[in-house]
Symmetry: C2
Subunit: 209 residues, 2 copies
DNA sequence: GTCTATAGAATGATAGAC
DNA sequence: GTCTATCATTCTATAGAC
């Protein structure tokens, strides 16, 4: 037998089912509105069983948050320090749009967490996000100094990218309502991604091919 | 005495205090997380008194929502059918930024309402917003046909404007955290407004003066 | 590991005196 | 109109049998 205690089969299965259900419920109802009994019910297990795997609602919520954080980190890495702003920003915008498409629930939970004053992720805002943002502001300022892009405010540019890309996740219900009540097709989503990329890049003075 | 029954003095005062407190609490904790006792406490009255003025938590919430709706209508009117897209869009973007500055709490409540599937405002999305959006898409398409702006997807442009301007309200906590822990000064906010306007207008091919 | 039953706390709303 | 006391419900969390 291994030194690493292998997780038992039902544990793996149940934990995964709980996390999927929890992400749904937290995104739909917020932390306060979510009930452990609803999460358990959607996961297909009795409520007491949920508390066996995750002792408190808050512990479950923090597990969800840390998963979302790792997705955030993945996107952050796509904004690398490269000489070509069209490359770097284009890749970053497309990565963020892809994440909004693949993980809209996580994006909504994240947005609500910030709207509520970031009770769980304040530390992240003050350390990881702050450092990451400062480093990217420096890169953008260098592009400006090298006359590769217009002399825009770097922070405002970053906020615009975050806002626009996350909007497709956070407001997907509204976008669906304005699309005849159904979600955007893959084709339309791709088109939106290209439009967003084009407007932002052209907007900061990058010549589009 | 007037035919219109004048509202008594304490009623006016208390209703106003309740609405201000309710907007705060709903934006911070969401509908489910908000408690009538906390709202009453912030309004400086006993909980039973709150229920005297607003029989249920939901009735109070709907009053708040209808106030936010009237602000939305006000912003919508600034996007008028004019020949100059720089004028029309610039005015609209600036009006939206101003609203995010003046009414961040309302914006957050609105965002959460949509994230939760718009339980109270689904009708608004399907009628007023849908009609308004369709009419503005037509105007944008006309500008494109007249070669006044690039041939971008009108919907994506509108979403970008909504996302970016509302981000300054909905994510003000994060923006503050990235600004040394304090809110943006009037000066910085003005600068952000100009940056946002410039990037979007230039991004759709409008020559900036 | 699973599940029934329930304890203990919080909350929305109201009764009824003033 | 105001306010204390309280009911009824709901929710988190756990005990304890299996």
């Amino acid at each position: 037998m291994n030194v690493m205690q292998k997780k038992s089969k039902p544990r793996v299965k149940n934990e995964e089912a709980i996390l999927i259900a929890a992400e749904e419920v937290f995104s739909e109802l917020g932390f306060a509105g979510a009930t452990t009994s609803l999460i358990a019910s959607r996961a297909g297990i009795p409520k007491a069983n949920l508390h066996y795997y995750y002792p408190t609602k808050e512990a479950l919520y923090q597990t969800i948050i840390s998963r979302i954080f790792s997705i955030w980190l993945h996107a952050a890495e796509t904004f690398d320090d490269c000489d070509d702003p069209a490359d770097a920003l284009g890749r970053y915008i497309r990565a963020k749009m892809e994440i909004s498409r693949m993980h809209p629930l996580g994006s909504k939970i994240w947005a609500q967490e910030i709207m509520h004053g970031a009770p769980q992720i304040q530390g992240f805002l003050e350390t990881t996000l702050n450092d990451w943002t400062a480093s990217r502001v420096k890169i953008i300022e260098r592009w400006i100094a090298e006359r590769k892009i217009d002399a825009i405010d770097p922070q405002s540019l970053l906020y615009m990218i975050w806002a626009t890309t996350q909007h497709y996740a956070d407001f997907e219900h509204q976008i669906g309502a304005l699309n005849g009540g159904k979600a955007l097709s893959d084709e339309k989503y791709k088109h939106a991604t290209e439009t967003v990329t084009q407007i932002i890049l052209k907007g900061i003075g990058i010549k589009m091919v």
